[in-house]
Amino acid sequence: MMVDQVVIPALKILIVLNAVLVGVTFMVLLERKVIAWTQARLGPMRVGPYGVLQPIADVVKLMTKEDITPVKADRWVFSVAPLIALIPALIVFAVIPFGPEVSLFGRQVALYITDLNVGLLYVVSVASIGVYGIILAGWASNSKFPLLASLRASAQLISYEVAVTMTLVSMIVSAGTLSMVGIVNAQESQQVWYLFVQPLAFFIFFVGGLAETNRAPFDMPEAEQELTGGFHTEYSGMRFALFFLAEYANMIVVSAVATTLFLGGWLRPFPNVAALSFLDLVPAWCWFLAKTFVFLYIFLWVRATLPRYRYDQLMRLGWKVLIPLAIANVVVSGLVKVLL
C-alpha cells in the first residue's frame, strides 16, 4: 500500500527529473558537437576525451558565476520568471509514457508517472503556462531589447500554439482518447504509427514545435544580431541557466510528445510485421528513448542547416498557412472517421 502509493511514484519522479536534467546538459554538448561537425569543425575537445566532460564544466561555471539583478529591474518578478519558465517544462513529464507496464522485482510497475485521462490536454495547458516566464523576464528586466524579444517570443508562441493544438485535435479524432498511454495503445491495436495516418498533422506539429521552443529557423526571440541576446539578456549565472534548462527541456518535451503521438511511443518499428518480432527483445523504453533522440537530432540538424526566417514571414506562415491547414486537417479527419 505504502510502497505502491508513495515510494514508487516518488522514485519515478526522482528518476525522470534527474534523467531530464542530465539529458539537458548533454543535449548542450551534443548541439555544439553536431553544429561543429556540420561546419567541418571539431567542437569542444578540451574537457575529457572528445569533450564529453564539457557539460560538467559548464554547470560548475554557471553555478559559480555572479548573479546580477539590474538596479531598475522589478526584483520580485525578475527572480520568479526563470522558475515560471522551467517548472512547466519539467512537470509535463508526469504524463509522458516511457513504456508499458513491466514486472520489476516481482512487482507490476508502469513506466510512466501517471496516466491522466486528459493527458494530452494536460500537456497543452501546462505548456501554455511556460510563456509567462518569457514575457515576465523581458518585462521585469526593464530594458529595451529584452522587452522587444519577449514580445516577439510570446506573439510567436501564442500564434503557433493554435496550430499545434488544432493538430492535436485531429490526433484525438484518430485515437479516440486523450490519454497518452491510450494513444500508444490505439496505435498498437490499429497496427500503424499515426505518422502514416496523419502526415500533415505531423508536419504541422513539428514546425509548430520548432517555433514553440524558439529554435532555429524560428529563433527570432534570440536573434543576436537584432536583439543582443534575447529576452534573457539581463540574466546571468544560475538564473540564466534556468532559462537554458527550460529551453532544452522543452525540446525534449516536444520530441517525447511527437514520439508518443506519431511514432507509436514505446512500440517497436513496424508493429504490424510479425517477421520483425525479434525486435521486441529490445526493452520498450529503449525504443521510446531512441525515437525521442531521433527528433532531438533533427532539431539540431535543422538549426545547423536552415537560415532564420524574417519575423513577418514567420507570422504569415503561422496564421495564413499552418492554422488553415490544421483546421482543414481536423475537418478531413472527422469526415474520414465518420464515413469509413
Binding site: V118, V124, S125, V126, S128, I135, I158
Partner: protein, 167 residues
C-alpha cells in the same frame, strides 16, 4: 475530511489571490495574481474530479486570455499609478445596486442549498469526464452552446471591423 481541508484551503487561496488582484498597486503584479487565482480555481476543479474542466481552465484562462491581458498592461505603461480621475459617466449607485443583487442571489442559493442539500448521485464521480462534458454540451445544452458560439463570432467580426477601418 481530506476533501474538506482541500476545499477550504483552495477557497481561501482563491479569495486571497482575488483580493490581491484588486488591491495591488502594480498592474503587472495584479495580472500575475489573477493567473495564480485561475490556477487555484483549476485545482479546485481537479479536486472535484473534473479534470477536463480543470485542464480547459488552465489552457483557456490562465494560458490564453490572461497572456493577452498581460500584453496590454505591459504595453500601456506602467509602474506609475494612474492619476486620480473622476469619470463623469461613473454609475456608482447602479453599481451598488447590481452588487447587492448578486450578493442577494448568492445568499439565496446558499440558504436554499443548506435547507435542501442537492443530491450527490453516484454518476457525479464521472461527471467531469471528457465524454460526459461533450455529450452534455451537444445534446442538453446545444442551444446555449450555439448562442455562445454566435456571440463569439460577433465579437470576432467586431474586432476585425475595428482593427481594419477600410475593408
Amino acid at each position: 475530511m481530506a476533501d474538506v481541508i482541500t476545499f477550504y484551503t483552495l477557497a481561501a487561496l482563491i479569495l486571497i489571490f482575488g483580493l490581491l488582484v484588486v488591491t495591488t498597486r502594480n498592474t503587472v503584479h495584479s495580472v500575475l495574481f489573477l493567473v495564480a487565482d485561475f490556477l487555484a480555481v483549476a485545482m479546485l476543479y481537479a479536486s472535484m474530479n473534473s479534470l477536463f474542466v480543470a485542464a480547459i481552465q488552465v489552457l483557456v484562462y490562465a494560458g490564453g486570455i490572461v497572456v493577452l491581458y498581460l500584453f496590454v498592461v505591459m504595453l500601456v505603461n506602467l509602474k506609475r499609478p494612474p492619476e486620480e480621475v473622476r469619470d463623469p459617466a461613473r454609475q456608482t449607485g447602479l453599481g451598488g445596486v447590481l452588487a447587492g443583487v448578486v450578493l442577494a442571489e448568492l445568499a439565496l442559493i446558499a440558504v436554499a442549498n443548506a435547507l435542501d442539500p442537492p443530491a450527490t448521485d453516484a454518476a457525479s464521480s464521472t461527471a467531469g469526464l471528457t465524454e460526459q462534458v461533450g455529450l452534455a454540451l451537444y445534446t442538453d445544452y446545444l442551444i446555449p452552446f450555439e448562442v455562445a458560439s454566435v456571440l463569439l463570432l460577433v465579437a470576432m467580426v467586431g474586432a476585425i471591423v475595428l482593427a481594419r477601418r477600410e475593408l
